[in-house]
Assembly symmetry: C2
Homo-oligomer: 512 residues x 2
């Protein structure tokens, strides 16, 4: 058994049975091993950003890591932006990067790069395999590290000779690392703050946004008047009719500060202290009042669900019934607005859909406007590295066949990783892509206005995606995805309804 | 004057007047400054790999650096692969990466990443600006560092507050750093080796591949029977009718070893010791015999043209007349082969064309088969990080308006940075893109065969770009580039001839 075979067998034994790949020469022995050993689903991406973003989306829905297969330092580099997003989402990913043979690397062949150095900032664990005999054990350790709460990217650099050398040994799966429980002190301190009657914000993130944890959070809020909120961007939120809704901190620092005025305490549940996305001259980078006191109920790596349950019990808080949500919404008609799209989504979103949203500017009404849609999971760009939406949708669809994935995708960010469409077509993934085509970097036009200058031609040209207009129907067709264009809400509703009923992907270019 | 304005004015004063950009929020003050200060041509790319590859192509043809404008660590990450290629090409690039405000960075907002750490492996110079008062001086230093022989990537990380703070000061251009001349000892040692009569290889790279330097290299070869050769991949080679041709080291290690058998001495002129692209079990990673002796006439940072001239003089070598190259070739007819494409290129290539080649497998006959084409420059992928061809073509076309750029682009690598087509359309660049559509990763099929296994379905699926077929005509149209498909050499010749006569880009999908 060569090293590559021991690696594949160890991954399978450790429960990793899906590999998003864009291989190169140095990975050919790994590819050959995948051929000989059944059980690994291999999904090809035509660009590494697709591969890493899909691995992120897969694990967010599968609750276990996929493997990637990338080619040398530059292949890793192409996948770094979406690994950055995965890092911010605390997503488990077993990130395998093929590389030069151990004895070839010092010769500095053209592809040689600082593979480990590039991987380290996005990884909770980084190792370069050195021998066929130990690469199985390396793989088992990588899976364990990736799965360790709250989850992270474990990068295994894989020199080609480690793959082709004989003497590979399959390693037994390593046990999951224990998830630390919060201390009784932290629970009691949070309870004291909540009982004080002072305006208190509870910031929920990560595993606190799953259905059971949210139910306990609502017990706490109902018993104490605490205000529940989530960060602007979250890996996965359970929401929709019959579930309890939580608002997000607004993207704009000014809106956030207005929204959080008067808050005296901030209790963190798996979240970092809130911070604005960017700094602006003369504005505070914190969205909460400067004199608010930060308390930590649970750190991201602790058992967040258990922490909320214990706090709710400590407070003697009874269960809360979610509201029925009223009659089912009608589809919107007429002009395309953010609110109209949210209304139609509420009317037509399939049960248990997975919504992937990458549309900060036009999409402002989508999240608040869809609380009464059918139950669904909502996935977002977590690290601000745009170009994550289409890959996330790809990976999510691989993870949960039978559930419709709806990608709400701005055109500017969609162009970063449009190659995802080809993988959707090839794998016949049940994804409805809605491209929100405003043909500009709308968010940056707002930011430029904030700079105070009267923007001139040079600046406007740099934020304009028209000249020429992108034709998303042709782009989709060029990669084997059927597509159509809508310019009013009636035709959008027709297309959206029929898209969600078909097998395989469909793209709607919604001109806004 | 704010920091951003002082930066733009300093760049212009230092001769940097072109900026390839994909800006974000943290760059808005820089964008606003570009508006207020005339003279900088801004070229927008819809993905950072387009931006950095275009900056590489621009400088290879303009012989001076362009600036980039990237957005934070993840934006840099998306551009790293083509900066890796630029590093291997020794291309001067002033790589500007906007980033979080100095006081915002410690708060670890979602986009915060290890910007400097990611930049360093591809950069000859890396600095994070800290004050508006000194960012002008930082920019002047960056230009000087990028231009320092043999050229490299100088990365300036630009926190947003450094841009918006008042007190910016324009810095005077710094002088070019002196280019070291080779020592008389090195020249005499090389002359001794060449006079010894032993089979000797002279490896030419970088500036040794410009027209005047090549003429001196041919004097040396004619006077001594030395064998001239270049690395497999080169930043820019002057070639075509009336110029002296130099062969390349073959890509395949086996072919290279056969070709270089019997060599006793290797003289390096701006080149590293030759090494195979990848290692293979049981094969030497060196393409030359193990007992060959390596000599260095000139290191990459030395004056290569002057070194060759002095060596030719030392040898008393007379001038060599290039051969006339015979009658102009006829276009090829019938089936599409690598040799047929080379023949048609030889017949139809416009005078002073810039050829950008990224087609290692099908393109094997292109380079040897076009030595008698009209005089042209030939640009290649230098670092093996695929997805450089279309961006290089974009940047080259910006650098030398009036010269036709011909991009010979494999389909698999073309998909990495297909967003380049939009920039070509927007800037109406005179580029003829020939996509060589074999609908597979052909080079990897060869590598997989080399692994010895009988490839099965899993492996073949991972190297197959069919299912679904990419439709490059639709992809091009979707980004505003006119396009057509050719499946035989007659229609290819018709399309190629007319494409080269039009203003602006045209894409030919050549089904092979």
């Amino acid at each position: 058994m060569n090293g590559a075979e021991s690696l594949v067998k160890t991954l399978l034994a450790s429960g990793v049975d899906t590999c998003f790949a864009n291989p190169g020469t140095s990975e050919m022995h790994f590819v050959a091993a995948l051929d000989r050993i059944p059980g690994m689903r291999c999904v090809l991406g035509l660009f590494e950003g697709v591969v890493t973003g899909a691995a992120d989306g897969y694990a967010r829905m599968a609750d276990k890591p996929a493997a990637t297969l990338l080619h040398c330092g530059p292949g890793l580099a192409n996948g770094l932006a979406n690994l950055h997003n995965a890092r911010r989402a605390n997503t488990p990913v077993v990130n395998i990067v093929g590389d030069q043979a151990t004895y070839h690397r010092p010769l500095d062949a053209p592809l040689t790069a600082d593979t480990e150095g590039w991987a380290r900032p996005v990884s909770v664990w980084t190792r370069t395999a050195t021998r066929a005999a130990s690469v199985g054990a390396d793989a088992a350790a990588a899976v364990q590290a990736a799965r360790g709460a709250p989850g992270g990217v474990a990068t295994l650099v894989l020199p080609s000779d480690v793959c082709w050398d004989a003497g590979g040994r399959v390693a037994a799966p390593l046990p999951d690392l224990p998830v630390p429980k919060v201390s009784p002190d932290a629970v009691q301190q949070a309870a004291r703050v909540l009982r004080s009657g002072q305006p208190t914000l509870v910031v929920l993130a990560g595993a606190a946004l799953r259905e059971a944890a949210l139910a306990d959070a609502h017990r706490i809020a109902a018993a104490t008047d605490a205000r529940l909120i989530t960060p602007m961007s979250n890996a996965r939120v359970a929401r929709g009719r019959g579930r309890l809704a939580v608002e997000r901190i607004p993207y704009s620092g000014e809106a956030a500060r207005t929204r959080l005025a008067g808050i005296r305490n901030v209790i963190l549940v798996g979240a970092p202290p809130p911070v604005t996305f960017f700094a602006y001259p003369g504005q505070s980078p914190r969205p909460y009042p400067e004199d608010a006191v930060i308390h930590v109920l649970a750190r991201p790596e602790e058992d967040l669900g258990e922490a909320l349950a214990r706090l709710a019990d400590e407070l003697g808080a009874p269960k809360v019934q979610p509201s029925a949500g009223g009659p089912r919404a009608e589809i919107a008609r007429g002009a395309v607005t953010s609110e109209a799209v949210a209304q139609t989504l509420t009317a037509l979103l399939p049960e248990q859909a997975v919504v992937v949203e990458e549309s900060v500017s036009f999409g402002r009404a989508f999240y608040p406007g869809t609380v009464h849609a059918a139950p669904h999971d909502w996935l977002q760009l977590t690290g601000g590295a745009i170009g994550d939406g289409l890959p996330l949708a790809t990976g999510a669809a691989v993870a949960v066949p039978g559930r419709r994935v709806v990608a709400l995708q701005a055109d500017g960010s969609g162009m970063y990783t449009l190659q995802s469409l080809w993988t959707m077509a090839r794998e016949r993934l049940d994804v409805t892509v809605v491209v929100l085509a405003n043909r500009k970097y709308a968010i940056l036009l707002g930011e430029l206005a904030g700079v105070g200058a009267n923007p001139g031609k040079t600046a406007l040209d740099m934020l304009d995606l028209g000249n020429p207009d992108l034709d998303w129907v042709k782009l989709a067709n060029g990669m084997g995805v059927e597509a159509a264009r809508a310019a009013d809400m009636e035709s959008f509703a027709d297309l959206f309804r029929s898209a969600n009923q078909r097998k395989g992907p469909f793209l709607i270019e919604l001109v806004i």
